[in-house]
Amino acid sequence: MKVQLGAEGVDVNALMQEVQNEVQRRRAAGDYQDARIGRAERHNVSQISDGEHAHDVMLRCLDDCSQIDINDYPIEDRNTGIKGKLLVTLKTVIWKLLKFYTYRLWHQQNQYNSMAITAMESQRDFYEKRIQDLENRVNKLEGSQGES
């Protein structure tokens, strides 16, 4: 009496295909260009023992969080009342002074990040192709040895 595979009624593989299609659609729409995803994935990469998959996840996370958001954002403070208003004003003034200097730095950092990721991806593609070529050659050699 063996453990049987395949439940009746629910095709979870089809549902997973639906999930993966939706991931692709959202990714294409830029839904996952979010630095927070990269941060959340740091625990994931250390748990995945499948090296190839972990490498892909890591590269995608780096890609997703490579661009530092240099746009303005609403400045808030957890304090309320006059103290809160004063702190928000202070933070706004500091931000206005700082961004004059930091925009240039962030811009350079973004350029570096993009180039670093492009370099890593092209290196991965290059080695993947080389490994594929070598595997094909090994298979061919093994095949010809079998024939002789």
Partner: protein, 390 residues
């Protein structure tokens, strides 16, 4: 048949680890089928200190004889941890160091001496889980009649030569799931080796789906995780994903935890976790029955007892795809989906949380699968047919 089961710990109260619970369960159902069963264990109850907190000796428990033997004193914990830290980094140490590591692990010379004298009187000896010194020692006493109940994961310990030798030495293995068997056969070259997927009995139960929420004044949907909260169970990942999901989805469900262990609440999840702590079996079942989803983020599972229990409570599951076993259980049962990264987690959550019909279908499919596959009769048949065919 006269059978000896061996586990590092045994507690009549049942509060031990998953692998030990499995061995106890297999011993009890073998005795119920009319076989003479002895369970060999140690006097330890704490899996951190392994102190001999129980008196050595024997007692009768639900039709089986339980024998407690003292754990060897004088372990060189420093040496053990020094070698283990290398193994943890997937470095395979020299054979001498592997043996040193095993020798300074949990062992019981008295148990081995007793077994050496009594081995002839048993038809089969079943020992597990695989990574304990005590299991490795037992595998050497009478390998021709010894079966491993390995509870094997794809983890650094599995790559050690001394582990491979133990698998190759014994007459066969009792596995929990097909991916576990495939992993063992791939790692240890077990061609012509006997092996069978048996699993563990999970009795069906009824639970009130509203009781947990009422007791804890929860008036919104929740997702649930039950078990230890620790890195090995991947709970930090679940917390990070839930924090992010809550930030990106204003109507995200609450996260409920049942179990023990410290954790850090990430930013964005403050006030969104209900930590019920260590709860009774009945409260755990009620928590499961009321959950919208049961999430199992661990990638180190050889069976997934809580996953099956969630299905018995009629709740669908979302598991980490990195666990071959949990994904296999979901595919086998049709009771759950899986994720390999955050985007898949988010889309699967969106799909399942917005479709109550789907939640119901998956929960029912999972429950039916567990009732059909892991009922007492099915487990008894698979285990005892395997042993008697040997």
């Amino acid at each position: 048949m006269k059978l000896a089961f061996a586990a590092p710990r045994f507690s009549p109260e049942g509060v031990v680890g998953g692998a030990e619970t499995l061995i106890r369960n297999l011993a009890l159902i073998s005795a119920e089928a009319g076989h003479e069963v002895e369970l060999l264990s140690t006097c330890a109850t704490d899996h951190f200190t392994w102190a001999n907190s129980r008196k050595a000796g024997s007692e009768r428990f639900e039709g089986i004889t339980v024998r407690y033997f003292p754990v060897d004193e004088g372990r060189d914990a420093e040496t053990y941890l020094r070698i283990q830290s290398r193994i943890d980094r997937w470095i395979v140490p020299s054979k001498a160091d592997q043996e040193l590591w095993a020798n300074n692990g949990v062992r019981s010379s008295e148990l081995i001496r007793w077994l050496e004298q009594e081995a002839d009187s048993f038809d089969a000896i079943l020992a597990g889980p695989y990574l304990f010194g005590i299991t490795l020692d037992i595998s050497k006493v009478a390998p021709e009649k010894t079966w491993l109940i390995p509870c094997l994961h794809d983890e650094p310990f599995s790559r050690l030569d001394i582990i491979a030798e133990a698998f190759q030495r014994v007459c066969g293995c009792i596995y929990n799931a097909a991916p576990e068997q495939e992993l063992a056969e791939a790692l240890y070259d077990l061609k012509d080796h006997r092996g069978e997927v048996v699993g563990m009995e999970l009795p069906a139960f009824e639970a009130d789906p509203n009781a947990f929420a009422t007791r804890h004044h929860l008036n919104e949907p929740y997702v649930l995780y039950c078990g230890r909260r620790e890195g090995g169970k991947n709970t930090p990942l679940l917390l990070e994903y839930m924090a992010l999901y809550t930030e990106r989805r204003p109507n995200a469900p609450r996260l409920v935890f049942c179990g023990s262990g410290e954790y850090q609440t990430p930013r964005g999840l403050e006030g969104r976790i209900l930590d019920a702590g260590f709860v009774s079996e009945s409260e755990k079942r009620e928590a499961m029955a009321g959950a919208a989803l049961f999430i199992h983020p661990s990638v180190n599972e050889s069976f997934g007892i809580v996953l099956m229990e969630a299905w018995l409570a009629g709740t669908p599951a979302l598991v980490h795809a990195g666990s071959e076993v949990l994904r296999w259980q979901c595919q086998s049962s049709g009771g759950g989906l899986w994720f390999k990264d955050y985007p898949e987690f988010e889309c699967a959550m969106d799909l399942l949380l917005n479709r109550t019909d789907l939640q119901q279908q998956l929960g029912q499919a999972g429950g039916a699968h567990v009732r059909n596959t892991y009922n007492r009769e099915a487990i008894q048949t698979r285990l005892l047919e395997t042993l008697s065919d040997a």
